[in-house]
């Protein structure tokens, strides 16, 4: 405890300076931990397990779709598989990993705080998450949901009890995400180290802050919508059932009012990760810091106003179609600004092509493509043809897989040493990247084509004219699944054989690298004082109260 010396000067009364006592038992240290870094690891492990389960469901689906009229799965099981796959990937994998995982691991460190504002709520958020996942997968025992992750009524009102479990599971996740959002937002507003103005915050913090706001507001709405669906299913309260005066399109409105912001909840943290990794490996300041930061905020704001672009074929009034089309196109502009700024940062750098940057470049390539197809979907007449087809399936995987999941892996390779103290193997990492990148494109690129030609989504079989393409897609999907095993091996291997990382293996300049790896439970011995922005490569470190002798040179 001697290390935990009394902080000095003005810093003592700063809110980031408070600290909870050190954990004194196994349970408090690893299970009901209040430490944001331990909670982050808990999110990573739990989310990783659900990623494997949901991924296996995807492989089963692709096995069924190897050929037309296959009978690997029954039609019912196939419907259940894609519904649970989608729900789990969105709510049990991407959102918890990016917000609960990276947000918890990195954000408090980057703002120079000793924990989040409400550590106990943080623990509660996490412990709502495994039960939600178990409920969702337990729904298979009672007839899992079949109507996709969107669960449009009236069909979702007609399904067996599993759909009610789905409602409960996602409700729990919703509560968890709302609490996390609230917690992070207070943390970012109140607990930044002295001198860290909003425009000196690392870009990941900007992204996490915007995400937190979206989580807090949009996810509360999701909880309400799910409660509506649940009480209609359980007590027959008429909201969505036409026969009782309800309106199925109402669900689409309230669902997408959550789920479009949710798309940005899933991508903004990945933007943040990319914005951290690029300057570190390019060894120069990020190009257009303010534009990237403000575009995050703009995306956050606009994301609440575009939900009905998922509903262009749901009989909206013409003015609604026009309004939502225009707003959707508006949101493409800040997204474009980010992409162009990242590419411009590469100019004139001293680029080290390590695995994290490799994943970021993969992200840029695939996400840009997903963004472009997004614009095609935003135009109402084009969407009339593309809606509900494999084109949409391809688009959303380019954004959520090519975007979020590539971002997650980039972040994992980047912050793994901070989390565990050891580096992941570079060679295995590069093999993982190339295999994943190639298999990803081979899996999802052809889907655009068959979607445009007339293959609808959510089908267990299809017109035999698409057989060849589907077979190719399925084989690629199996290779894609295999590529994750390389990562799994690499991760397990690093526990024993991984190179010891040291505090700052990449020579980065944000605050999380200014302390030992893994970070001690109190994070900062003294709360640092921030003197300027975090990406001034070549200048002296902009921190007081930090050991100045820490190297900011990459170790390899």
């Amino acid at each position: 405890m001697n290390e935990q010396s009394a902080p000095v000067g003005t810093v003592a009364s700063h809110v980031g300076g408070h600290i909870h006592p050190p954990p004194d038992s196994f349970v408090k240290k690893y299970i009901f931990s209040l430490d944001h870094k331990v909670i982050a690891v808990q999110y990573f492990i739990t989310g990783g397990l659900f990623f494997i389960l949901a991924g296996l469901l995807a492989e089963l689906m692709r096995a069924q779709l190897m050929g037309p009229n296959n009978h690997v799965l029954s039609v019912e099981t196939y419907n259940e598989a894609y519904s649970v796959h989608g729900s789990a990937m969105v709510w049990l994998v991407i959102i918890p990993l990016l917000t609960g995982g990276f947000g918890n691991l990195v954000m408090p460190l980057q703002i120079g705080a000793r924990d989040v504002a409400f550590p106990w709520l943080n623990m509660l958020s996490f412990w709502l998450f495994p039960p939600a996942g178990i409920l969702l997968f337990a729904s298979f025992l009672f007839g899992a949901p079949q109507a996709g992750w969107t669960e449009y009524p009236p069909i979702s009102l007609q399904m067996p009890f599993g759909t009610s479990l789905w409602c409960l599971a996602i409700f729990l996740i919703g509560v968890s995400a709302t609490i996390t959002g609230l917690n992070f937002l207070v943390t970012i507003v109140k607990m930044r180290a002295p001198g860290m103005t909003y425009t000196r915050m690392p870009l990941f913090v900007w992204a996490t802050g915007t995400t937190a706001l979206l989580s807090m507001i949009a996810t509360a709405n999701l909880s309400a919508a799910l409660a509506g669906l649940f009480i209609e299913r359980t007590f027959g309260v008429p909201f969505y059932n036409v026969a009782r005066g309800g309106a199925p399109v109402l669900w689409q409105h309230v669902f997408w009012f959550y789920s479009h912001p949710a798309v940005y909840i899933m991508i903004l943290p990945a933007f943040g990760i990319v914005s951290e990794i690029i300057p570190t490996f390019v060894r120069r300041p990020i190009f257009g810091y303010k534009m990237i930061a403000y575009s995050s905020a703009a995306i956050g704001l606009l994301s609440f106003m575009v939900w009905a672009h998922h509903m262009f074929t749901s009989g909206l009034a013409h003015w609604e179609q026009l309004l939502f089309m225009a707003l959707t196109m508006a949101i493409a502009i800040p997204t474009g600004i980010k992409i162009f700024s990242w590419v411009a940062t590469l100019w004139g750098g001293k680029i080290r092509l390590d695995t994290p940057l490799l994943f970021v470049l993969g992200f840029l390539s695939t996400f840009t493509f997903g963004g472009i197809t997004g614009i095609m979907l935003a135009s109402v007449p084009a969407d009339i043809h593309e809606h509900g087809t494999y084109f949409v399936v391809a688009h959303l995987h380019y954004v959520l897989f090519g975007g979020s999941v590539f971002g997650i892996f980039a972040g994992l390779y980047y912050w793994w040493p901070k989390m565990t103290g050891r580096l992941l193997d570079e060679r295995l990492g590069k093999i993982h990247f190339w295999l994943m990148f190639t298999a990803f494109n081979a899996t999802f690129l052809p889907m655009h084509w068959i979607g445009l030609l007339g293959m609808p989504r959510r089908v267990a079989t299809y017109d035999p004219v698409y057989a060849g393409t589907n077979e190719f897609v399925s084989i690629s999907a199996f290779v894609l699944g295999f590529s994750f095993l390389i990562f799994l091996y690499n991760a397990l291997r690093s526990a024993r054989h991984g190179e010891i990382a040291g505090p700052n293996p990449w020579g980065a300049r944000t605050l999380e690298w200014m302390i030992p790896s893994p970070a001690p439970y109190y994070n900062f011995k003294d709360i640092p004082i921030v003197l300027s922005g975090p990406y001034e490569y070549g200048a002296p470190l902009p921190y007081a109260n930090i050991r100045q002798d820490l190297a900011t040179v990459p170790v390899h």
Partner: protein, 194 residues
């Protein structure tokens, strides 16, 4: 162990309170969104219905609701004066007004219960009933929680948990109670006036 007994300084208390206040306001915002979702549902269902309320459905009794609203709004005013009592260290003012608030809140719940039992429509009976009972029920649940919350902070205050300087729990309870009031302003308009 020494840590656990640590008594925060005034500055620390102010810092922690400011965090909690912000967190509490964010909680109220997200709660507001939940009400907002069901209000949107109500307006949407009303918009697509050919006639409103649906055929055969009677609206609840207006003037009882008016008196009941007045009771709830009155409790908002008394809660404010209870809070003022703490801020100015006038204990008896605090006790009198918070008790008045608790009584008025319970009266509102009683009025609500009377209204529920005398309506012909039910929760699952029609789209009107669905929205009406979901929204007012959710609100009534908030009032109930609020009454329990007020009783809790009242007892805590009697035990000396809160003082003139340190009373974040009471601030939060007051804000929560005002919030519940203000939600009713919207619900009263939607179900009895609009």
């Amino acid at each position: 162990m020494a840590k656990a007994l640590h008594v925060p300084s005034d500055a620390e208390y102010a810092d922690v309170s400011s965090q909690r206040l912000l967190g509490f306001l964010f909680f109220l915002i997200s709660d507001c969104v939940i009400f907002g979702d069901f209000i949107f549902s109500y307006l949407y269902l009303r918009d697509v219905a050919p006639v409103w309320p649906p055929p055969g459905i009677e609206r609840p009794y207006l003037y009882l609701a008016a008196v009941n609203s007045m009771v709830l709004f009155g409790s908002g005013a008394t809660m404010h004066y209870a809070m003022e009592g703490i801020r100015r260290d006038r204990r008896r003012q605090f006790v009198a007004f918070i008790l008045a608030t608790i009584v008025l809140g319970s009266l509102f719940l009683a009025g609500q219960a009377y209204e529920y039992t005398h309506l012909h429509d039910t929760w699952a009976g029609s789209t009107f009933g669905a929205s009406f009972f979901t929204l007012t029920g959710l609100h009534g649940f908030h009032v109930l929680i609020g009454v329990i919350y007020l009783i809790t902070v009242f007892i805590q205050t009697l035990r000396g948990t809160y003082t003139q300087q340190r009373h974040f729990g009471l601030t939060a309870a007051t804000l929560y109670w005002h919030f519940v009031d203000v939600i009713w302003v919207a619900l009263f308009f939607l179900f009895y006036i609009y």
